[in-house]
Amino acid sequence: MISLKEVEKVYRTEEIETLALSGINLEIDEGEFVSVMGPSGSGKSTLLNVIGLLDEPSKGSVLLAGETIQGLPDRDQARIRNQQVGFIFQTFHLISDLNVIDNVEIPLLYRHLASFERRSLALRALERVGLASRVRHFPSQLSGGQQQRVAIARAIVGQPRVLLADEPTGNLDSQMGEEIMKILMGLNEDEKTTIVMVTHDARLAEKTERIVRLFDGRQVN
């Protein structure tokens, strides 16, 4: 499903050059649930950004469902992000001026779908994460755990094949973290969604099928 070959990512400024990823070779099968672990600054989020087309690798190739994705025009990259990938962030990234259902609908705005169709898909996604009763609430009226569930609903509303979760439980207490993990595992098992999750929590990582460890931008296992 996901294939990285000799991927390198260098961030350059006028003064310094930072090697964020180096020589990454990674194969993730369809339906696999993989954790990425490593200390801060080891390149975990960069790896996720490269897989999710949020960032271009400096070297190497990235294939998603057999298709080379780097170097594609902006419009094609946007289409792949919209249709193949769902993102979950540590800080939720909900738009505070939109209510729950409007937040969940956002990915569908970039597809040619009728309003009622968007609404129906968004409601289904919210039901999947157990928040169907909170559709008119604004993010500020929800707890951290509920906000992350909204973010998961937004990530799955377009039925992507890959979910990229960047420390999805990092801002939550352990109980809420468990709840989020349960939802992710359910999605992996029921929908066969491929999940790549960055985490610092070894306990959660152990629940996944495989752990990829990074250190100073290099794969260490």
């Binding site: 950004n49 949020l54 001026d97 956002i106 990915p107 705005l109 597809r111």
Partner: protein
């Protein structure tokens, strides 16, 4: 996407209220300036109906008490003054008139059953030679009118159309009435127009009465209009003044070329408009800079949101479109409110003088200008937003 943009704008209504207020005020001021400009321009482009070049106005002041004005003796003197003026080789023609072109005095009367009052002027038989007035029907006043037992009247084309439509107006009776008297006149001629109040004023219905100068006038002392030969030097004014003073000792005269009076009237009418236009210009500039600043700040503040949208599938152009669409929606709200206020003026009859078409032109031009300004102000921040890389934007603080 449009619905989504409306939702966002509505949910951010407090933030957007300032922009809406700016748009609303600028629109109203701009609308006033553009409507008045269109009104003046439309009026200016219409035929004036007379030739003011080389015509001098002699304002006559008898110094007599109000009750003595218009007595036979005064009229005899006035007739002599016209003859004296005609005697100068520099003068081609001279006439008496009650309300001079570009002057401040006007007279109105009720005519027949017309709901609005009608302008009227009194003039002697020589006025067409002085002002180059051309009749489109009938004739001007002349000595044959002395023998008539009815009052001859000359009307302009718009009054003819209102009173008689397609019928021939010549010989038709026209009833003039004011608070204290009612007079019958008979139409003997039609002029295309005589816009003696100047080019910038709205055209009006008008009729002329005949000034005989051997009769008792009840209301006003006429002024003189003198057509001089082209190239007559300004020094002639002194000699003309001396001639008039000699014929009417104790009277005073103020001689001014009609061209000069016209320029003074232009200044008087256009200066306030110029001031308002200047204010509108500054206001637009302020709104432009304000909008640019607000939108720029808005884009910076929303960098993270823009990154999120890019991550969720928005391509650069759709981010660009969204930023510009948002400002256009906010502008539309301001313009709708502004239009609702602006259309009250013609509906309540506050701007009756201005034609509805002119008002609509001013309104639409203002809408177009405000849209162009706000769109232009949204383009650069929109472009900036579209260039933000998704990964960097998501981590923007």
């Amino acid at each position: 996407m449009i619905k989504h943009v409306f939702t966002l704008v509505w949910n951010r209504r407090r933030t957007n209220a300032l922009i809406v207020a700016e748009v609303l005020i600028s629109f109203l001021v701009l609308c006033a300036v553009l409507t008045l400009s269109a009104h003046f321009l439309t009026n200016y482009l219409r035929p004036l109906g007379f030739d003011y070049q080389n015509v001098w106005n002699v304002e006559v002041s008898t110094g007599l008490p109000w009750s003595s004005i218009g007595q036979s003796s005064s009229m005899n003197t006035t007739r002599q003054l016209i003859e004296i003026a005609k005697g100068f080789p520099e003068v081609k023609a001279a006439a008496g008139i009650l309300a001079s072109p570009f002057g401040s005095s006007t007279w109105t009367n009720n005519v027949d059953n017309l709901s609005t009052s009608v302008m009227y002027d009194g003039a002697t038989d020589d006025l067409p030679q002085v002002l180059g007035l051309e009749l489109i029907q009938g004739r001007w006043f002349d000595r044959t009118d002395d023998a008539q037992n009815w009052a001859p009247v000359i009307i302009n084309a718009s009054l003819r159309d209102k009173l008689f439509g397609d019928r021939d107006p010549l010989g038709k009776t026209l009833i003039k009435s004011s608070e204290d008297h009612r007079l019958e006149g008979r139409v003997i001629g039609v002029v295309d127009d005589f816009r003696f109040k100047g080019e910038l004023r709205t055209p009006f219905d008008l009729y002329f009465s005949r000034l005989r100068l051997d009769d008792t006038l009840s209301f006003s002392q006429p002024d003189l209009l003198v057509r001089v030969q082209p190239g007559t030097p300004a020094e002639f004014e002194e000699r003309l003044m001396a001639g008039l003073n000699a014929a009417a000792p104790g009277w005073s005269f103020n001689i001014r070329p009609l061209g000069q009076m016209r320029r003074a009237q232009f200044t008087e009418m256009l200066t306030p408009l110029g001031i308002v236009a200047l204010i509108a210009g500054f206001l637009l500039l302020m709104v432009g800079f304000g909008l640019l600043g607000v939108l720029w700040q808005n884009v910076t503040r929303r960098t993270s949101e823009i990154g999120l949208r890019r991550a969720l599938g928005a391509h650069a152009r759709s981010v660009y479109f969204q930023i510009v669409a948002e400002i256009l929606v906010v502008t539309t709200i301001g313009l709708v409110l502004g239009t609702l206020i602006a259309i009250q003026f013609p509906l309540l009859g506050i701007v009756d003088d201005i034609a509805m078409t002119t008002y609509l032109i001013g309104l639409l031009a203002s809408v177009g200008l405000i849209y162009s300004l706000t769109a232009a102000c949204g383009l650069y921040p929109g472009w900036l937003a579209s260039r933000v890389g998704p990964a960097a934007a998501l981590h923007h603080e």
